[in-house]
Symmetry: C2
């Protein structure tokens, strides 16, 4: 794409997305301007880069779902701190031969999601090159009342939940998942959420990071892990649990509340259908509890331990 | 690079850069947190992606200068609105075979610049893949007293300046240029800067955008264009002027002030050595004035017009 075609593309992008507060000035100057008045509390910022061949297969997914995913993974990070997303900045490196077509496809995929979550596309950078497709999104958000929920605020005895079933995402759900923005805001409005993060690398790995941040260990009750229907039902139970623990790209939320709040949250009339999976404990690392036995979950695979 | 090596790299990056206000929480959670109190006025956000083969040749430049450039081009955008940079978010796609080495090189190049301009590395995303090197930086800043300087605030009769000589940057200066952050703040503290932008695509192209944003035309006085020593002195004057107008990646600032302020700014005792290059005028487009003659500068090349 020649430089003039890029300007033309930028004008096209500009027309696709209305400018909403706190954005005062979006695409078209050297920087975007976000108003201070609307920023109010703390501002959240997250960024994720998706590269062809690792996070998506362009021919199989198509550019729309790639654009959607690029925004959705960032929305999931804002959700993980119980924030409300506001403004996105989108950089792309487009394969030269079909740059304009790919760019429009990416935006057709991400714009409806931006619209639905009230996100202004406030800036970006457009490049064409001879390499594969790369898209980077930086997303900003505002924290709600009481400030953002970090991953470090819980401790031994607190109860762990996930917001949905896990595993098998790479079969396609990693492109179409629903970021848990609204659910996180609702949870935080009703309960004291002590620690939260999104499940992107896989429950076992992400929980290890949360436990470490909390200065605690974690125990997962194997029988409580919600296994997604996307996991092959022909596998053994142990293999299916392994997928739920390790596949990653689930983009559900992992969070901790006190035992008293957990009991409230699990009441049938709480209005929430989340899954209790275990607890934080003294010590360190992640352990798996099954049939009364507890054994440490190694960082690598572990499926043989359940066979 | 395996996922664990990436976590190791992220911890290394975390140790390289201290967290300063307004950043409250940097690398290590789902989002960074920027404090509202310190945000004060408007917040500026800009993003730029550099891709191997287009913005740099990795073997020739080395990763340090690539990292430096990736931050510097964003600092230049903050300078262009007379802002003060605060926090950077850095995403990289690293060629798998030498990911760690390249990542450390990039950071060795950009960290001293971050330190010098008071920028916290507050987050990012690290990926390895089989493609070439890609680095995306999103940089945030605060606007100074009186708010950001847009590119649209001047009109016919206002005087145009650039902050330094132009042309020949691609010989190497595009990797080592000094972002004009402090100069922009000093200019704005002393003068009413009506419109400003940085020269990245080349003076003729960038001035066209500024004039359009101002709803005006622009006249450049050919004999006033400061030509950088990096432009081959063996060329004809017309060719050298063409380089100064068209090469791009100068990262000097282009700005407009009123005629009265221009006279103050040009006084030998003003403390500023900036270059008056022309004026905004009624009409549209960019024209070149030479020997009393004015002719429109076409969007493409024009060197034959001066021969």
């Amino acid at each position: 794409m020649a430089r003039d075609d890029e300007f033309d593309l930028i004008r096209w992008i500009q027309k696709q997305s209305p400018v909403r507060p706190p954005v005062e000035l979006g695409i078209g100057d050297d920087c975007a301007i976000l108003g201070a008045s609307a920023i109010g509390r703390s501002m959240l910022v997250t960024t994720d880069m998706l590269v062809e061949g690792r996070h998506f297969l362009l021919e199989a997914a198509g550019p729309e779902l790639v654009g959607r995913k690029a925004l959705a993974v960032n929305l999931s990070d804002i959700a993980a701190m119980a924030g409300r997303p506001t403004a996105a900045f989108i950089s792309v490196a487009l394969p030269r031969s079909r740059g304009r077509e790919l760019a429009e496809g990416l935006y057709r995929g991400l714009l409806p999601l931006a619209e639905r979550f009230g996100v202004t596309i406030a800036g970006g950078d457009t490049n064409s090159w001879d390499g594969p497709l790369v898209i980077n999104v930086t997303l900003m958000g505002e924290s709600g009342v009481g400030g953002p929920v970090r991953r470090s605020g819980a401790g031994p005895g607190d109860i762990l939940f996930v917001t949905g079933p896990l595993g098998g995402s790479l079969g396609g759900r990693h492109l179409t998942f629903e970021p848990r923005v609204d659910l996180a805001l609702q949870l935080k409005a009703r309960f004291k959420v002590l620690a939260m993060m999104d499940v992107s690398d896989g429950l076992s790995s992400d929980l290890r990071h949360m436990a470490e941040a909390c200065g605690a260990g974690a125990v997962i009750e194997a029988d409580r892990i919600p296994i997604h229907d996307d996991v092959d039902s022909g596998l053994t139970l142990a293999e299916r649990v392994d997928h739920a623990l390790s596949d990653g790209e689930d983009f559900e939320l992992l969070f901790a509340v006190s035992p008293a709040e957990a009991a409230q949250l699990e009441r049938p009339d709480s209005g929430f259908s989340v899954h209790r999976i275990g607890r934080l404990a003294t010590g360190e690392g992640v352990s798996l509890e099954r049939g009364g036995e507890i054994f440490p979950l190694p960082v690598g695979g572990w499926v043989h331990r359940l066979e």
